[in-house]
Symmetry: D2
Subunit: 166 residues, 4 copies
Amino acid sequence: MARKIIGIFGAGRVTETDNDWMAAFSMGRLLAQRGFVVLTGGLGGAMEAASRGAREAGGVTLGILPGTRNTTPANKYVDIAVYTGMGEARNVINVKSCDAAIAIGGEYGTLSEIALALKGQCPVILLDSWHIAPHNTVKQPDWQLASSPEEAVSLAIAAAEAESGA
Amino acid sequence: MARKIIGIFGAGRVTETDNDWMAAFSMGRLLAQRGFVVLTGGLGGAMEAASRGAREAGGVTLGILPGTRNTTPANKYVDIAVYTGMGEARNVINVKSCDAAIAIGGEYGTLSEIALALKGQCPVILLDSWHIAPHNTVKQPDWQLASSPEEAVSLAIAAAEAESGA
Amino acid sequence: MARKIIGIFGAGRVTETDNDWMAAFSMGRLLAQRGFVVLTGGLGGAMEAASRGAREAGGVTLGILPGTRNTTPANKYVDIAVYTGMGEARNVINVKSCDAAIAIGGEYGTLSEIALALKGQCPVILLDSWHIAPHNTVKQPDWQLASSPEEAVSLAIAAAEAESGA
Amino acid sequence: MARKIIGIFGAGRVTETDNDWMAAFSMGRLLAQRGFVVLTGGLGGAMEAASRGAREAGGVTLGILPGTRNTTPANKYVDIAVYTGMGEARNVINVKSCDAAIAIGGEYGTLSEIALALKGQCPVILLDSWHIAPHNTVKQPDWQLASSPEEAVSLAIAAAEAESGA
């Protein structure tokens, strides 16, 4: 059986002084402590924070990169670097490879990952992230909102375990 | 010089009795009358409506399909069918190939196309589509809202012409 | 019904003094005269020659580009430019979108298109192109060899028409 | 620093009684013993043999799958399963993510991986695999031939270490 993977999606422009950086770092650490592989887009900002948190807790980190090892190398906390050379199309791979995902803050790339996760039925938890609402609808949203990194991690783990019938 | 292309993104589940179907049909027709190639995801619903409107006005229609000719053939109003076999990753191609795009209504796939367009700097016009807002920000949105098919077409054409320095 | 598409795959480094350039040009022209859309990778060399031959005969040319309009714009003989931003992964799209394909000469990219065509069951004709042979096998090859541009075009048209049950 | 990855590419239809199966198994084991992550396409046949050899030697195995976890799940010897949903386009990712690769036997998919590796400058070693030769050329081939699994592994490791300036 392949190991369980939980994704953390967030902006590349976040820095260590931003709340989102620390949230991503904490979530990476918590997920690693619970034995999950932590998947990110492999670049800087929130992606690096999550990878670093997981690495420092002894976890395994997976990065799915948009470019090549020469153009956009993985940050130094990525253990397994998958280079796609496919630009934003790698966002599709991110959501298909996760058992569940957490979006923290984020810009347009993160919004696309949220949408692709919902489209592809990967459970997704939003933490201080995009507000989205379809035009003219009353159906229940398929996403969940968290109000802290700890809650986001709990919801993601529950979703990942439900996903696989565990 | 390649021909100018404007994309119309919307849900596959829209039917002829929905407002979105007629809006997509009208926009396809108007864009074809103005000489634009009309790009869609090539499947049914709003994609078929837009292609049909463009075809009936004598225009050229381009469909970028998620599957293969055997699994998910293009609707019958697509002139040029590009089969990717890449699932939702074809949404990236849709936005990269347009000079501008209009989202009409739509579900998660359309939301991903809106996000990818914004990420990839393809001007995007929203008509009765997703409401989106980043967490904690005051910056101006990069998208435009239209209140009618005619307005959406005008805004898209203006954006497509500005895009190319025309 | 979408229009029939035949692909011409060849090297980007071919110049007008090479035999392959003139062969690609001739085949583009012949295919356009017979009413086929001519698909190429949209860049220079044999891709440009084929597009130019088709365009000058009044045909429609389709280019599937590896990059974006800013990084790797289509050559000026491409009517419909599809930008993927996916690098060599666009070669998969090339073969999936053709009713048949011709490889003329070519380097490693062309070899990958030949292999992907064979894998994806797109009929492929080789003209002065790669010699390929599996290790230890006696089965009939799935590709056809042509000895002139005219023969390559005839074989490709026959294959494209058989493909669709025409 | 991300871990070094070496790919083993081969046919999905190989069975345990084939020489290629045992060669793939041996190479997976040898690479794992030398500390490399072993990358495959994640499916059966030679891919499973290589993953199993690596797993049984205590190594880490990475599988890049063409489909989704529901349609084409990874074989049970894959530790890290990356689902792309992109069909053969995942072959591009395979070659971009390796420091070096070995092709063992193989059918058209393997031939495409050989070509893409050569195109993308991933060093590639051929063991009882495709014979390829460009038309009309005298230049030195960019690939290397091995005559045993042990030699293939040695050549791949040397290439992977040269690649990174180690």
